[in-house]
Symmetry: C2
Subunit: 339 residues, 2 copies
DNA sequence: CCAGGTTTTGGGAACGTTCACAGTTGGTTT
DNA sequence: AAACCAACTGTGAACGTTCCCAAAACCTGG
């Protein structure tokens, strides 16, 4: 019971544990790292000594010799505002934190919105401070991806990394199939003039969901029925207004995100159109907002839990030396009141 | 080929830089850490060598000898759901990330919602993986605070740390003064039956904002005019319903958060009461939601930018060995359409 | 031009861990 | 019973920094 009153309470090292347990450094190290080749009696002695001394391994020392950082970075390349407005990001962030914690890996949160930030972040990552990177929402042409690839830093993106398929691992919802299921649903409801509000076309979600829409509609997907949004509420409003001007006879809209759909909804209602009576409205994501709009939004659920789990798994595989892989996860149609 | 960083192309060490610059390790180290006692010519040679080799200091080695982690943890003790529903958290998180990045410090995001999580986080922090902790929203009696204090880990809380005043550093909005300004504003609008929906009374915001309400109303703060919420939208709805039952003649409500106010607003409107005509409604936070409700919410702005900046400053002071201090920051009344 | 001081420099010694390897057990096979 | 093999254990050598101290170089003033 050495003086634990003083501020300068030295942290116990592996030597202290070894002495306490009456074994050597090496045995303690082995006991604590999987316990291979350690006799039961030694193992128990070490464990007891650890409990008694309150020993926790010094991660700096460990990292120094193992050449591993034992941490993972979560990097957001979107403009800052997105983190607030788009609920998907906080869901992903929260799930990743949790999932990594299960593996006893801390998550470093970094942003790379501005050019200055990207440089700093890139430099930091290149310095080997982390073992891998979870990269969220890469617009195509994001220089950070190239930099990470170049420095040979394991990276998994959320959503197909446009322009890096095959090189960079990723986990994503099957956006295209999800979009198809929604558009089919709208048709089954008897709608014939089905419009769409897309996401940005330099994002996988933007491209894939539009592709799914086209898969189902074929030649019916007239240019007048397609407007582009930017995943923000305001963008959804603007696109909806545009659609109403271009195709006043539309009777359904498939919107590539719930947040944009919420914006579209207010525009429709302000225009005196009843949802779903006059216009059926379908969203994407099944974010919290979908159940709070009136009417509640029919949408396509992204399996964020699984996406996150897969991202982490893929990254850990990558860190362990496996080649980059991909996971495409099924979505689920959630029918509420807007269709 | 696994292609791990370091196998194919070894990262340059300080030795490589020293050799390249034609000086010793020590000189390189000095040159890179402030440049004290280094001749201009040596300094320039080192800088050139660093540029040429692309050297970046190995943080593990540095941490090992300096006994500093060179990173800061951001710990959320609230239930997970809060991170999504309450926009304040993401604002704080984003601002802290940014502010710390300016100091070249990475932010480790950790949660301590469940008991298991708290233990893991506590253990991790006690292991010295970080130099300090930014702790967000500590309900009173949060064991994590005690543990951090006991382990002598620098910590700054956001909001007054109930039960730890004077021991733990903190930055907070002047909740009490902010509440006063709102209640005075409601009185100036001619309201006489001013009710309040509080936050949880085991949180500083809950306690202080109620105190400010009482400061202004004195004996007029009848128990029938006070209901308690939990900072969620649903909680705001429930509390508003309770108030309407207890005090049907109320003509104003000061709600301790915008999110709860948004909930209260729908309850009022569903009850056929017009806002602000029949009932004036004041929120707190000035979160994004305040400007999207109809009518837009009069509220009290929390100076999150400054709070964040102060939290980081206080924490870095603490890490540098200064005693714990506190920062109480002024709020601002934002008048919109609901009062 | 030398004594005394200041600035600059080099290199040994940590920091706390893991790893490789050699050595020591104890048990089985021939 | 010798010989072998497996399981276990201890120890020296890294890992890449910073810190410290002594030595070297450079000044200054008498």
């Amino acid at each position: 019971m050495t003086g634990r009153l003083g501020k300068s309470r030295a942290r116990p090292t592996i030597h202290d544990v070894a002495a306490e347990a009456g074994v050597s450094r090496g045995t303690v190290s082995r006991a604590l790292n999987g316990g291979r080749n350690v006799s039961p009696v030694a193992l128990e002695a070490v464990l007891a000594a650890v409990r008694k001394t309150g020993y926790v391994a010094n991660s700096a020392a460990r990292s120094l010799v193992t050449q591993r950082a034992h941490s993972i970075a979560f990097v957001l390349t979107e403009p800052q505002s997105r983190l607030f407005e788009d609920p998907n990001f906080s869901i992903l962030l929260q799930a990743c934190t949790q999932e990594l914690a299960e593996h006893d890996l801390p998550l470093l949160l970094m942003t790379a919105s501005s050019d200055v930030e990207r440089k700093r972040t890139s430099r930091f990552l290149a310095a080997g401070h982390v073992d891998g990177v979870l990269l969220v929402s890469s617009h195509t042409g994001n220089p950070l991806v190239d930099e990470l690839v170049q420095f040979d830093i394991p990276v998994v993106t959320c959503g197909k990394p446009l322009g890096h398929e095959g090189v960079v691992a990723y986990a994503a919802a099957d956006d295209r199939a999800g979009a198809r299921s929604m558009v089919r649903h709208l048709r089954e409801r008897g709608r014939t003039r089905i419009a769409t509000i897309t996401g940005p076309l330099d994002t996988p979600g933007g491209v894939e969901r539009l592709a799914g829409y086209r898969d189902v509609l074929g030649a019916d997907a007239a240019p007048a029925l397609i407007a582009h949004g930017d995943y923000t509420r305001a963008g959804g409003e603007a696109a909806m207004a545009e659609l109403l001007a271009k195709a006043p006879d539309l009777d359904a809209v498939f919107v590539a995100s719930d947040l944009m759909a919420a914006g579209a909804l207010t525009v429709l209602q302000d225009a005196g159109l009843r949802v779903p009576r006059d216009v059926a409205l379908g969203g994407f994501d099944d974010s919290g907002i979908a159940s709070t709009t009136r009417p509640a939004l029919t949408t396509v659920r992204q399996p964020f839990e699984r996406i996150t789990r897969e991202m982490v798994r893929l990254l850990l595989d990558l860190v362990a030396g496996l080649p980059p892989a991909a996971a495409l996860l099924p979505t689920e149609l959630v029918v509420r009141d807007s269709t």
